[in-house]
């Protein structure tokens, strides 16, 4: 951090945490670090599927323990911290007031990173709740929930103290996201049931203190494991959360960043206020309903399935509202995509978001879902949405915001460009390889009525392809990490820095209400 107004020697730790934008920088760098670690997990798992015995016998490195560690690290490590960083950058600028407060946000991020690190180790040690996306054990759930609430408080305090009267659309989405994730996390993790309980033969409910179930006495009933309810209902709770964590946290958070960055980077006002309004309320109303489309193939009540299908289909309203709004903002400006690397990342992400949502709508039709469910097709979809759409948006935000915060040019533009192409080719190859694998599996199972076991020689080649394309993504992501670190470590800003910044003049920008300025320095 290069803020030259502070003589380095006299800065105390707490003062460092108070520097403007320090929390944003911290978040973005943490995100880049988690991203780089997370892709290594992914590549390892991918290789385990092709050569299963590479780490045979090491419990921490078995595929099925790396998988939750990878997924949660990407979700709560990479995307969350990168988004928090971006939000801490955006919110003060849109509110024209400093973050309330940078110190709190920095401490939050320190604790958050610690929590995720401990959670990852717990998952690799097999300490899991066993439900997708809510795997963290209860002693991770509680810190996460508390930090989520603190995050909401930080964001809303800043918004409440804003100088700019108008609330830009990014702020709606950020405000919504921080509230929704805090609400849904506790529903998804069944947080009011932190212990494993059972009904003993004496008719009383006991807590199973030891995590080792071999302490179970004979004749137990009403077994209810930590972070779960009993019966198929548990799946309903699980997937209500499991979809909303993407729809009302990652998606909305990423949309907020896009709505900020695209007008900012192109210096064009947003096309339509009405469309952003429609998009926001429609996403709030519709995404919440779609969780059960993950259970279309399970025997849950039909009305729930129908609600979720209707929700999934109507999702085209917010998706198209967002995309149209964005692309209309870009009209006549597409050439900028070639010159401006962060913009290219963000817009590519927006395209992938459109594609993933389109695919999602199609695969939530019953006829399609019964075909592709359980196959690698779903994995392709998940990566298209999370890596292709929101990974790209987060990368774009990082590459734009970090240089802005440290007031230094990006260390290497070529690195960023190469990273872009590696990631673009990587995610495309990855997506098509897995989609093909999924279709091959689906046609073997459903069309030919073959056993699952028969189809895996067929998918093996696609797994090799996935590893190859995954390797490209890994290289790209590590280039981003190096680029970010080197940018920060560069010597003090140069005079002609503006020439190098992807967007030099922050004040010239004529936004709808001129709201996209730097926050006043305290």
């Amino acid at each position: 951090m290069s803020d030259t107004t502070y003589p380095a020697a006299r800065v105390s730790f707490w003062e460092r945490l108070d520097r403007p934008d320090s929390a944003a920088l911290f978040g973005l760098i943490s995100g880049a670090v988690w991203f780089a670690i997370g892709v290594i997990y992914g590549l390892t798992m991918s290789n385990e599927l092709t050569t299963p015995d590479i780490f045979a016998g090491i419990p921490q490195l078995v595929f099925s323990r790396l998988r939750p560690a990878h997924v949660n690290m990407m979700l709560f490590g990479f995307l969350s911290t990168a988004f928090y960083g971006a939000w801490y950058f955006i919110v003060p600028r849109l509110c024209k007031t400093p973050l309330r407060s940078n110190r709190a946000a920095n401490i939050l991020l320190i604790l958050w990173n610690l929590t995720i690190a401990v959670g990852t180790i717990a998952l690799m040690n097999g300490d899991t709740q066993g439900k997708e996306y809510t795997e963290y054990p209860w002693y991770i759930d509680w810190p996460v929930e508390i930090l989520l609430i603190v995050n909401a408080v930080i964001i809303f305090q800043t918004i409440a103290a804003r100088v700019e009267p108008k609330l830009y659309v990014s702020l709606w989405y950020i405000g919504g996201s921080v509230i929704w994730i805090a609400l849904m996390y506790c529903i998804g993790s069944v947080m009011w049931h932190p212990f494993t309980t059972y009904l003993g033969s004496d008719g009383h409910t006991h807590i199973l203190w030891s995590n080792n179930a071999s302490s179970l006495p004979a004749g137990v009933s009403n077994f209810q494991r930590t972070g779960a309810v009993t019966g198929l209902d548990d799946a309903v709770w699980n997937w209500f959360y499991g979809h909303n964590v993407f729809g009302l946290y990652i998606t909305t958070g990423g949309i907020a960043i896009t709505y900020y960055l695209v007008p900012k980077l192109t210096r064009r006002p947003l096309y339509s206020h009405l469309m952003s309004l429609i998009g926001f309320w429609a996403i709030a109303l519709l995404y919440t309903n779609t969780g059960q489309h993950h259970l279309l193939q399970a025997p849950i009540p039909n009305w729930l399935k129908i609600v979720s299908i209707i929700g999934s289909i109507s999702l085209f309203i917010p998706v198209f509202a967002f995309s149209t709004n964005l692309f209309m903002t870009m009209r006549g400006q597409w050439g900028q995509m070639l010159e401006n690397t962060p913009l290219r990342f963000v817009l590519t992400g927006a395209f992938f978001y459109l594609a993933a949502s389109f695919q999602g709508t199609i695969q939530s039709f019953m006829a399609v879902n019964r075909f592709v469910h359980f196959t690698q097709w779903t994995v392709a979809h998940a990566h298209l949405a999370l890596l292709g759409a929101f990974g790209f948006i987060a990368s774009g935000a990082t590459l734009y915001m970090v240089p802005q915060i440290v007031r230094k040019p990006i260390w290497s533009r070529n690195f960023a460009d190469v990273q872009y192409w590696l990631m673009l080719v990587g995610i495309n190859g990855f997506f098509w390889a897995l989609t093909a694998a999924g279709l091959a599996q689906a046609s073997a199972w459903v069309t030919l009525g073959e056993q699952v076991t028969k189809a895996y020689p067929v998918v093996k080649p696609y797994f090799f392809l996935r590893s190859a394309f995954g390797g490209m993504i890994v290289v790209g992501v590590w280039m981003q990490l190096i680029n970010v670190i080197q940018t920060v470590r560069q010597p003090a800003p140069r005079k002609d820095m503006d020439r190098y910044l992807s967007l030099s003049d922050l004040h010239e920008f004529a936004a709808p209400a001129g709201i996209l300025d730097d926050p006043p320095v305290r």
């Binding site: 066993g130 198929l232 699980n238």
Partner: protein
């Protein structure tokens, strides 16, 4: 519409909570299916096994959710809501990298599972399931107990049936190869023992069979057919040692009605081609020998049977192509392949 922080916060919260009410709270009140008659509570040991299953993330590759259309999976009983009545957490799963396990109970005997967790390549050379060799002793026994109770009461009774059948198989195995084969043959339908082979023991068939043998059988029966595949250590009875079932070269597929094999009278390849077909198709219940019903189509089963007979039990190859050069080449190959492992 004017957007204020209050509008955003209140609107977001209210919408979310009301949808949550409709989508999770109402279901959790009205959707309480009673256990189906097939479903029973887990025993303490099974719950402990389930814990191992949860901790090791088996759910990421194995669903527990059979659909009516999943012909090959389970016993053809589609999942009912009440089947999950005692599950916590649910293990419905969202991916089938491996087969569905909802009706797994009794599909394999305990010793198959034991070898399979040691390393899935032992029992299925093509598998990409990770090795769970670190799940040892009591933990692995509990895990297997859990797998054997999947499928509810029906699964449990299938598993018990496997255990009962195993008693006899072990008894006859210990009496020696001859009596073992005679006993196994006595459990097969006579018509099948004498089933004429539609596919001659030709070079092509044997070559195709070799590929299949390596991909499906070698982990148990060993590359040399001597039953010394890596899985052998864990299986009881161990995989059949084909080289013990010596042959005089008689064609085994000659139809003989009312076939009855007596090993004391006859030194011919005691395992007929029809017997191999039947055994590969349906497995040997009680032993680790699995069924390949859904995996190998009929021609392939005949092919792998021809390879087993030709390579390990001395069946003669049929000169089917009539091309001399090919036969000459073949002679070289077959000499190399026939080298017997040390007794």
């Amino acid at each position: 519409m004017k957007m204020t922080p209050i509008t955003v916060a209140l609107g977001a919260t209210l919408i979310f909570l009301s949808v949550a009410l409709a989508n999770v709270l109402i279901p959790s009140v009205v959707f309480r299916p009673p256990p189906t008659p097939n479903t029973r509570p887990y025993t303490a040991q099974e719950l402990e096994g389930r814990e191992v299953y949860v901790k090791n993330g088996c759910v990421y590759c194995h669903s527990q959710d059979t659909r009516p259309m999943d012909w090959g999976e389970g016993s053809g009983f589609a999942a009912q809501p009440g089947d999950y009545a005692y599950d916590s957490p649910h293990l419905v799963g969202s991916a089938r990298n491996g087969p569905d396990l909802f009706r797994e109970g009794g599909y394999h005997p305990d010793d198959w599972h034991w070898a399979h967790f040691e390393n899935p390549r032992y029992t299925r050379p093509q598998s990409f399931m990770p090795s769970y060799s670190y799940i040892k002793g009591v933990e692995r026994r509990n895990l297997i107990a859990y797998l054997q109770c999947l499928g509810g009461r029906m699964g449990t009774s299938r598993a018990n049936q496997q255990r009962e059948l195993k008693v006899n198989l072990v008894k006859y195995y210990e009496k020696g190869a001859g009596e073992n084969v005679a006993y196994l043959n006595s459990t097969l339908p006579n018509d099948w023992l004498a089933m004429p082979n539609p596919e001659p023991v030709s070079r092509g068939s044997v070559e195709r069979g070799r590929v299949l043998y390596v991909a499906y059988c070698a982990g148990c029966h060993g590359e040399h057919g001597d039953g010394r595949g890596p899985a052998k250590t864990y299986l009881n009875p161990p995989p059949m040692d084909f080289t013990l079932v010596q042959a005089s070269g008689a064609r085994p597929q000659e139809p003989t009605s009312g076939y009855h094999y007596d090993y004391r009278k006859n030194e011919v390849s005691a395992i007929t081609n029809g017997a191999i077909y039947y055994v590969v198709l349906y497995g040997i219940p009680g032993s680790a020998m699995p069924q390949f019903k859904g995996q190998l189509p009929s021609e392939k089963i005949w092919d792998v049977g021809n390879y087993v007979g030709w390579a390990f039990m001395g069946w003669k190859m049929e000169p089917d192509s009539g091309r001399i050069e090919e036969l000459a080449k073949l002679n070289k190959i077959s000499k190399k392949d026939r080298k017997k492992p040390p007794a």
